[in-house]
Symmetry: C2
Subunit: 198 residues, 2 copies
Amino acid sequence: MPLPRGRPRSFDAEAAVERAMGVFWSRGYHATALPDLLRATKLSRGSLYAAFGDKHSLFLRALDRYIADAVTRMDIELDPRKEPVDGLRAYLAGYVDRTSGAHGRLGCLVIATTMELAGRDADVNRRIASFFKVMEARVADALSRAKAAGKLADGVDPANAARILVCFVEGLRVISKTAPTGTITQAAADALLDRFIR
Amino acid sequence: MPLPRGRPRSFDAEAAVERAMGVFWSRGYHATALPDLLRATKLSRGSLYAAFGDKHSLFLRALDRYIADAVTRMDIELDPRKEPVDGLRAYLAGYVDRTSGAHGRLGCLVIATTMELAGRDADVNRRIASFFKVMEARVADALSRAKAAGKLADGVDPANAARILVCFVEGLRVISKTAPTGTITQAAADALLDRFIR
DNA sequence: AGAGATATAGACCAAATGGTCTTTAAATCA
DNA sequence: TGATTTAAAGACCATTTGGTCTATATCTCT
């Protein structure tokens, strides 16, 4: 195959996606106008449309990126080679951190997108439903390993507890969007986990 | 004071607010266009603007209505004259119901608004922050009464448990927006409450 | 009947929307 | 140098946005 001839692509598409992600994250899909995206990505209209097709496709790329980051983080926190209870503690601590202080007000792109688009956008719905399933499965897995190691309190079912933990952290992100708390949240997270472990 | 003379107001403003609420609820604030509201309220542009000022004010009215309904429901479920544990069970059952089957996909106007507007709209933020505070306080109150009656498990702090329960139900509404579940959710709610009561 | 108040329908508006296209400058190769 | 490819700038487009205003019909009172 012959080498490409002319001027080489001079911008980093992945970096542009990341910047676009930031805008969607802080404003939501509908409230993000094209000029916002152009400013953030430092791309011209032409380049943006040539590279990503349209606003919706770019949004999907940004959402995928956000989800991939979240899954990566989870894979580290809940790594099967670590102590499962430590992993769960780290997982919860991450959410406490992300919902405290200035971070808290940022909110979560997945939740915002769920509420704004999931009901009417099949592409979005697929991605998010699968993300929540993955998350719940990872947590359930850690809980199962904890149970096998005799670390769980009597009568705790990993599947139920996983759903509880996932709902708890997602709920945290919602209520801390209006009023980030910090210490109370940390105490609640500790109290919740303490109910499950021995 | 003299009686009003001319043609009397012929539409029910509160009913219009309720219909508008339905539209905002299912589409979100930005995705709701004026024609949507006109269709739903069956009002003309002129009447709608005369009665409510503008889109934002109408939205605030709808949000207030939604919150008032939620608080009313809570006051019934967590009525201090009832057994507190029964009340908490009813409270959770309400959320299980609202996140199951077809209801689930409807989602929650408060959460959607939190994610879409709370960060940039002070009027909205105030209302929602206060709502979450009220909700948490009511649940904490029920838990305190349960504790006084010796119905709580050892070492359960009502304030922590209240935050946990509130986050759980709000998280439920988020994850069930993409995939309403039902039975699993009911089991999780039962399992969670069982961890707190004796 | 007539005065007074209100509703509707819809024309109208400026601004903003997402999206296309053309022109021009720049960068790389042969 | 000249061919080729790309990016940026911004003109341009139809449509939609939230919002105003006027004309007309309708209703209730005196």
